[in-house]
Amino acid sequence: MMPLNYAILKYFTKVEEACADDVINALKDTYGNFKALNKKDVITALMTAEANGLIEETRFELDNNNELKVYYHAHEEGAATINKYIKD
């Protein structure tokens, strides 16, 4: 089991794109009991990763509840950096 932040970053090397809800759904089986696996903290983690060039925004939209969903993906360089420093 890897740290939650690592798992969040690693997830983006395995999918085309994802938003915070996708991350939570994908990781809830393993990290469901982690307090930090909530929308607010995951959004902060994603925006921090974006600010540091590990992932980049692809698109955004409002869902049926009028909540903002921002999608990100790991570009080639970002994915290579994540895979280099975070091993499976």
Binding site: P3, L4, Y6, K35, A45, T48, A49, K87
Partner: protein
């Protein structure tokens, strides 16, 4: 239909803009908070080292400690006690937030080891230099150590081939000039004994922290800042205690002395109260520094954190000078001028000051 989609798009764009703006502002506030907490950390650390057993060591000296021990070993001990207290706070917060397991998992990973390296550079070496400098020269050293963003920019250029343009070079010149102005006050007749040497030693702290900023900036792009700072303070505290203190003890001619002094320091209740407070402030300061850097970029984050060149002397003056009525903490106007000048220099290094206004324009 097109009109409906248009309305949705506008609402989504507005929501996205709000989210980005809030994130950016939060990053700046956190980074500024790190500077403020650094000021209180400095003030309470100094207070801790003036009470309990420390009052005797630095005062009557009934233990007959040598000048070397008083100057260097006690400086390292103060730093070790503070970092251990800080690490305990960090572990408590990590446990409360359910991150203690991740803290242990992160240690044995590449980013974790990078954080440990940063901790060793920024901890035993820089923290001790800072404390020794603070003891020798007083709060004048605080703006000196605020040179670390300038040093970070130079090291970034050398180690990571990062940008160092004319604006940044101008900022570095402003900082060096401000440093000279502040340093010149210690050469006067009423300056503390050993103040100039203290300033030189404090420069080592600036060098180490500039290096730490480069290295830890990378580490916190992957590690949760709260976990990162737990690794940092635990590594730093333990390394100070089991490596640096014995080395100073051997250099002082008594290897056991450091452990005896450490025991006395940790069991001195009236000083440990203040070390507990300084440890909490150090935890909040470093954690906010890492978090601010990772949220709004290292350049802007370090510029905001660099405001500790003002908060340091200010908090020492408030806590030690006003609240506890100690003499010698009021600063001459030229030091205030130098601190403000240095802050401006740091800002110029880290970013184009005009961008602050441009950012505001675009947000409006």
């Amino acid at each position: 239909m097109i009109e409906v989609l248009g309305k949705v798009d506008v609402a989504a764009i507005a929501a996205k803009k709000k989210l980005s703006s809030q994130f950016f502002r939060k990053g700046i506030i956190i980074a500024l908070f790190s500077g403020l907490m650094y000021g209180f950390y400095s003030a309470f650390l100094t207070l801790g080292m003036k009470n309990g057993v420390w009052a005797d060591w630095y005062g009557a000296n009934t233990a007959a400690l040598s000048v070397f021990v008083i100057t260097y070993l006690l400086g390292a001990l103060g730093s070790a006690v503070n970092d251990i207290c800080s690490a305990i706070w960090a572990m408590i917060v990590a446990a409360v937030k359910g991150k203690f397991g991740d803290f242990l998992r992160c240690i044995n990973s590449v980013p974790g080891r990078v954080m440990i390296l940063a901790a060793l550079i920024g901890g035993p070496i820089s923290s001790t230099a800072y404390v020794v400098g603070l003891q020798m020269a007083g709060s004048i050293v605080i703006p000196i150590t605020a040179l670390c963003p300038a040093i970070g920019a130079i090291l970034g250029r050398i180690l990571f081939k990062q940008q160092l343009n004319k604006r940044m070079t101008l900022g570095i010149i402003i900082c060096v000039a401000a440093s000279f102005i502040i340093g010149s006050t210690s050469i006067g007749a009423d300056a503390q004994k050993g103040a100039f040497a203290g300033i030189c030693i404090a420069f080592i702290a600036a060098l180490g922290w500039g290096f730490e900023g480069c290295v830890a900036g990378y580490g916190t792009s992957m590690i949760d800042p709260e976990i990162g700072i737990t690794i940092r303070q635990a590594t730093s505290g333990i390394a100070n205690l089991i490596i640096l203190l014995p080395i100073f003890g051997i250099m002082a001619g008594n290897a056991k002395l450091s452990m005896e002094l450490a025991y006395q320091a940790f069991t001195s209740g009236s000083s440990m109260i203040w070390f507990a407070v300084s440890g909490l402030c150090a935890y909040l300061s470093y954690m906010s520094w890492y978090r601010g850097n990772s949220m709004c970029g290292v350049a802007l984050g370090m510029a905001c954190n660099g405001t500790y060149s003002f908060w340091g002397p200010f908090c020492c003056y408030i806590v030690l000078g006003i609240i506890f009525g100690m003499d010698g903490w009021a600063l001459p106007p030229v030091v205030w001028f130098g601190a403000i000048m240095m802050m401006f220099g740091i800002l110029v290094i880290s970013m184009n000051p005009l961008d602050l206004f441009r950012k505001r324009d675009t947000e409006i």
